[in-house]
């Protein structure tokens, strides 16, 4: 039984408080730490961890409550096989009732049971349309066999949903804040060129963009160089 499903404290209210707490945090690291911390309190698990994987890059361990979770993750990321990897690719929950009798990933299961972990519940973090290329896994672990019942699975899914929202929102906000900063720098660089060559904003932007393309440098960095040196960077590469 989950602690959270006891009638004395309403789980909808606890999750609402969690959503508010997560929203009030502005960093990804704090966000994932609160999520795995909540998992320990709300679920019948002894350890929890969270991995986030953006397509085109390696899966990253975002948070763990104990070093053993990182070991369980690493065992799978190295061989690219195991319940975590399956959860990530198939975007489906995987429950292992007992690592001592699991037949799907026998090698991995033997190593994990040697680490003292018997029950494993991996729940996918399904990001919405805007983040379709990103996925994640909330991993829950217990030294007891058959530790996770239907209520634990339900709580884990709800937690994964809130974690997904919080991570996506935090990332989106960080990206927008970076874009604001970039636009400020690009604006300043445009202003320098507008004054120097007596051109309008559109032409100044076209000059910056051409330098960005010709030198294969980010627009933001071209702008920063111009602001710092008051010169346009040299074009070394071949012209298109």
């Amino acid at each position: 039984m989950s602690v959270i499903s006891s009638p004395a404290d309403n789980s909808a209210a606890r999750f609402a408080h969690l959503a508010v707490e997560l929203h009030n945090l502005t960093g990804i690291e704090e966000t994932v730490d609160v999520v795995v911390g909540f998992a320990l309190q709300a679920l019948n698990c002894s350890y929890a961890g969270l991995t986030v994987w953006a397509s085109g890059s390696r899966p990253e361990i975002a948070a763990v409550t104990a070093p053993v979770v990182a070991e369980v993750f690493e065992l799978q990321l190295g061989t690219e096989t195991g319940p975590l990897v399956t959860t990530m690719h198939d975007r489906e929950t995987v429950l292992i009732r007992d690592t001592e009798s699991d037949h799907r990933w026998p090698e991995w299961a033997a190593k994990v049971s040697a680490l003292g972990v018997r029950s494993v519940l991996d729940v996918p973090l399904l990001f919405g349309a805007r983040h379709a290329t990103t996925t994640g896994v909330l991993g829950l672990y217990s030294p007891e066999p058959d530790a996770f019942g239907p209520d634990d699975e339900a709580v884990a899914h709800i937690l994964a949903r809130h974690a997904t929202v919080a991570i996506a929102t935090t990332r989106h906000e960080a990206n927008l804040a970076q874009a604001v900063d970039a636009r400020k720098l690009v604006g300043q660089a445009m202003g320098i060129l507008m004054e120097r060559f007596d051109i309008d904003g559109d032409r100044a932007f076209a000059v910056l963009r051409r330098y960005s393309q010709d030198t294969n440098t980010k627009l933001r960095d071209v702008a920063q160089q111009l602001i710092d040196t008051r010169r346009l960077p040299r074009v070394n590469g071949p012209k298109p």
Binding site: A12, V20, G128, A168, R183, G191, I192
Partner: protein, 232 residues
């Protein structure tokens, strides 16, 4: 099967996910007003937002509720305004409350009996608006519904605040580019660092009682600082 308590938590999590995928505050308000009432299990739901220093009816799932909320804004009294002012929930039985002598009779005349106003708090702890839940009978808005409404209000506050922050950052991108161009012009013309040029623009706009944005736009358009006399 998971316990029924978790069914409700699951429904709220799904709503939170749906709201988080929306772009604007208006989209969030609309979805809350069309989709949220079943999660409370009774009553009607409306939303008041505090924008540009004014309270505004952002939506309601019932035209009669919208009318009653609107009358609060016209009468400048009522549970929503009290909840916003105190940043605390207000609950009233309109048939017995001595409060809001101008508004309460009109709300009763529209058929409302029980009224709950829940403040929606931003990340910075200011009031974004108020979630309004009203019942035509005592049973429509009882203890269970009030508890669910409070849960709903927390999720709605998070979604509205997140959408508001995204909107603010998008607007800031445009504003920063405009001010940035003016700063760049001054950096080049007067051989200043960015900080010096920003300081120059700020002082100028303060001295001339002009908005920074307007000074920047004027400088970009005419290559001159806007006329100090304000004659444009």
């Amino acid at each position: 099967m998971p316990s029924t308590d978790l069914t409700s938590a699951h429904a709220f999590a799904e709503l939170a996910g749906r709201l988080a995928d929306l772009e604007t505050v208006a989209d969030v308000a609309e979805t809350v007003c069309t989709a949220a009432a079943p999660l409370i299990g009774g009553g009607s739901v409306g939303l008041v937002l505090y924008e540009q220093r004014r309270f505004r009816l952002a939506g309601a799932d019932d035209a009669v509720l919208a009318a009653a909320i609107d009358r609060q804004l016209v009468a400048t009294e009522g549970p929503a305004l009290d909840a916003a002012r105190a940043s605390a929930p207000v609950f009233a039985d309109l048939t017995t409350t001595p409060l809001w002598s101008r508004w309460t009779p009109s709300a009763c005349a529209l058929g409302w009996r029980r009224w709950l106003s829940l403040p929606l708090m931003s990340r910075d702890q200011w009031c974004l608006g108020v979630l309004e839940v009203a019942g035509r009978t005592a049973a429509e808005l009882g203890t269970a519904q009030i508890e669910q409404a409070r849960v709903l209000a927390e999720h709605v506050a998070v979604a509205i605040d997140a959408a508001r922050i995204r909107q603010t950052l998008l607007v800031a991108q445009i504003a920063q580019e405009t001010v940035g161009q003016a700063v760049g012009i001054l950096m080049e013309r007067l051989d200043l660092t960015a900080e010096q040029a920003i300081g120059f623009l700020r002082r100028y706009s303060q001295e001339q009682h002009l908005k920074l944005r307007d000074v920047a736009a004027g400088l970009i358009a005419t290559r001159k600082l806007p006329d100090p006399t304000g004659s444009r």
